[in-house]
């Protein structure tokens, strides 16, 4: 029970940090930590296969994609950083307030809370569902991954200006 609530609060706070952090790299790290908390919640909700996917792909691969994309851009100058951080504070300070208001409204709407998760009833094997019931999804995933791989090769390719 305590782990669930800690993971939920941790996930929300790290997501908030990812939005509000000044540096893009810090925001990416916040996003990765948020994914790690989501993985814990998935394990607690009896979804180990999805949790492993979340941990390896969202915490690992997507963070790597973000860091490589950020590293391919030029860093800002000191003056630009100061100017941007002022604007950024002005733009993002309402977010915690909005989240607090939404939270208060949800509590006022008499949502009833409980975090002690009962043991889930596993009616089918996930492999059976994936390969039989959702077979078309698997083909779609294969096509998407191929499209993604080709897209990354083309879009991340450094252009050789000398040949132009």
């Amino acid at each position: 029970m305590t782990i669930n609530i800690i993971a939920l609060i941790g996930m929300t706070l790290t997501a908030l940090w990812a939005v509000m952090a000044r540096s893009l790299l810090k925001a990416t790290i916040g996003l990765a930590v948020s994914s790690a908390f989501l993985t814990i919640l998935m394990f607690r909700l009896a979804s180990p296969l999805a949790a492993v996917f979340e941990l390896s792909v969202c915490t690992g691969l997507i963070t790597a994609v973000f860091v490589s994309a950020i590293s391919l851009t030029k860093p800002l100058s000191h003056a630009e950083t100061i100017a941007l951080s002022k604007n950024k504070f002005r733009r993002y300070w309402p977010l915690p307030v909005i989240m607090a208001v939404v939270g208060a409204l949800l509590i006022l709407a008499k949502m009833q809370f409980a975090v002690a998760i009962p043991q889930g009833v596993i009616e089918k094997d996930v492999r059976d569902v994936m390969w039989n019931l959702r077979q078309i999804d698997m083909y779609g995933q294969i096509i998407l991954m191929l499209a993604g791989a080709f897209g990354v090769v083309i879009l991340f390719r450094e252009r050789n200006n000398d040949k132009r």
Binding site: L38, S47, A50, A114
Partner: protein, 107 residues
């Protein structure tokens, strides 16, 4: 039949899912940096992932929920990788990550 306790569990998770979605949508709407907009999109996707898993757990369809989440994760990673590539292409043209710079492009 879903019990009252399961509805309460769903409500607890729904509270945090709504919070995450609000943070993500605010980030996408308010930021001018395209890379940060992508981070907002990612946060919204995480909220939806958690919603699917909790709904699957509460209704007893964990296997189906896991299958859908795996599909969602694959789509998410492809979208993020391709969008990051497109943002980099725009950056190479305009030398800026500011989304207002796209207005100056042709088309």
């Amino acid at each position: 039949m879903i019990s009252a306790n399961e509805i309460q569990i769903f409500m607890t998770f729904a509270f945090f899912i709504i919070m995450l979605f609000v943070a993500g949508i605010y980030c996408v709407l308010m930021t001018r940096n395209m890379m940060r907009a992508l981070i907002g999109l990612e946060i919204m996707t995480k909220a939806v992932t958690l919603l699917l898993i909790v709904a699957g757990h509460v209704t007893g369809n964990i296997a189906l929920a896991q299958s859908l989440v795996i599909t969602l994760i694959i789509i998410e990673v492809v979208v993020i990788a391709i969008t990051a590539g497109v943002i980099l292409s725009i950056y190479r043209h305009t030398n800026s990550l500011d989304r207002s710079s796209i207005r100056e492009l042709k088309g």
